[in-house]
């Protein structure tokens, strides 16, 4: 997954649907653990502002 930091509002909605706990927030940024991520796309779809996209 790629996080578009200029779009991300750090609301955490993506974290709540991540089945493998691969996402976390710091004070200013969303971080992704690429080793845990299974590319299920839940976060990409659920993000209210389309800040996540699949790595091409």
């Amino acid at each position: 997954m790629i996080i578009q930091t200029d779009l991300c509002d750090q609301c955490g909605t993506c974290i709540s649907v991540c089945p493998v706990d691969a996402l976390m927030l710091t004070e200013h940024a969303l971080l992704i653990d690429h080793e845990k991520c299974t590319e299920c796309m839940f976060c990409v779809r659920i993000c209210p502002v389309a800040a996540l996209e699949k790595q091409s």
Binding site: D9, T26, M41, P48
Partner: protein
């Protein structure tokens, strides 16, 4: 010297004297966490609250509507928390017709939630709780892999620190990562969450005492759009869609853009927030070992209307009291904690199960169904337009719905 150290540590001044051992650690500074810290501190316990963000109450990821009676039962209301008073409920149909409901059906406020949380955090601090900002809890420290929680690792102003406590309260919101570390399954299925986007706009000229709810998939599939008035011709305008309708091409923001274009093309935007609302039943497990879960982290949101402020407050108060009680009588922790879990279920957990089933039916209604029900409803005098009457009309469309409506409204 001891007194000075205690004072300094309570104020968070002087890193060298910051206490590392506490009775209770609260993770998260939303309403649930603040009220938990307040209650535990009032009971004489040493409490520290960690909040990831830099300012209490901000950003306001919330429509800010609360029912007056419900809210006032938990806390004396300060005038500055109230942006506007609302007493009318208007449903806007897919075809744009407005249906006003019985006028004394709803009495509530649109809060200035940032001020509310700011003030309540100050009250918690006055009661003796220590509040730490820019303090991001990374993970729990466990005694053994499956054992109780010993403490937390916190990234505080860029430095990783460890704090220890007898009881930990997870109030970390919809993300609910803390409970996952205790092997409590909190990840939501896409259909059990509503991604939301909201703007606070100025120059909105609507009835300033009315809550407007726009129903139908043309506005927000599987959810609804809202316009909640705030002082000075401002309003919170937002919507949530059901996660199952969120696609790679259509996100919640796209629906709000469309909504604003249709109804408020000239509005100026003063605030833009996003967020996720859990729309499922409460978590079954709200306690494990010495960890308690409150508010959104325990999915304590009414799944039909998405309201969660008062549930967070209620569970925060109960958890704070229970945690203090368990500190005073550690032998009874199991009994006290299971009492908390049962109490929450009785207070609103059971009702949310019915609301969840109602939601399932309501959000299956097509836009044509809504328009037809609206037409029937508009034939009634305003005084007869109650929620129950509306649901009876829905039942005519979906007869299997009756049992859940009766249960939800009679509290069985």
């Amino acid at each position: 010297m001891h007194v000075l150290c205690t004072y300094l540590s309570r104020c968070g001044i002087g890193e060298t004297v910051m206490k590392t051992h506490w009775d209770i650690i609260v993770i998260g500074g939303g309403p649930g966490g603040i009220f938990a810290a307040l209650e535990a501190a009032k009971a004489g316990r040493s409490v520290v609250l960690f909040e990831r963000k830099r300012e209490m109450g901000i950003p306001v990821r919330c429509g800010e509507a609360v029912g007056e009676l419900d809210f006032a039962s938990y806390v004396g209301i300060e005038p500055r928390w109230i942006s506007s008073r609302v007493n009318t409920f208007v449903m806007v149909l897919p075809d744009g017709r407005e249906v006003e409901l019985k006028s004394d059906l709803y009495s509530g406020f649109i809060l200035n939630r940032d001020l509310f949380e700011y003030d309540m955090a100050a009250r918690a601090s006055d009661a003796g709780a220590c509040i730490r900002m820019k303090a991001n809890v990374q993970d729990l420290i466990r005694e053994t892999k499956d054992g109780p929680v010993k403490g937390v690792r916190v990234m505080e102003h860029g430095i990783l620190k460890e704090y220890y406590a007898r009881i930990v309260i997870a109030a970390d919101g919809v993300e609910s990562r803390i409970a996952r570390q205790m092997d409590i399954q909190t990840a939501l299925k896409p259909e059990d969450i509503e991604p939301c986007v909201q703007v606070t706009a100025s120059g909105v000229h609507m009835n300033e005492h009315a809550l407007y709810i726009y129903v139908g998939s043309c506005y927000a599939p599987g959810g609804y759009a809202w316009v909640f008035p705030k002082a000075g011709n401002c309003a919170n305008i937002g919507l949530g869609i059901n996660g199952k309708y969120a696609t790679e091409d259509m996100h919640a923001k796209d629906y709000l853009d469309r909504f604003m274009e249709r109804f408020f093309p000239d509005a100026s935007i003063q605030r833009y927030v996003t967020g996720g609302v859990p729309v499922t039943t409460n978590l079954k497990t709200l306690v494990k070992e010495n960890l308690m879960i409150v508010g959104d982290a325990g999915h304590m949101v009414n799944p039909l209307n998405g309201g969660g402020i008062t549930h967070a407050i209620s569970s925060g108060i109960r958890a704070g009291k229970a945690a203090a009680e368990a500190c005073a009588d550690p032998g009874k922790i199991k009994k006290i904690f299971s009492g908390y879990e049962k109490d929450i279920y009785k207070q609103f957990g059971k009702n949310h199960e019915h609301q969840y089933r109602i939601k399932d039916v309501v959000y299956q209604l097509s836009d044509e169904d809504y328009n037809r029900i609206g037409t029937e409803f508009l034939k009634l005098d305003v005084d007869k337009r109650t929620f129950l009457k509306m649901f009876t009309l829905v039942v005519k469309q979906k007869p299997e719905f009756i049992v859940d409506v009766i249960r939800a409204y009679s509290g069985i």
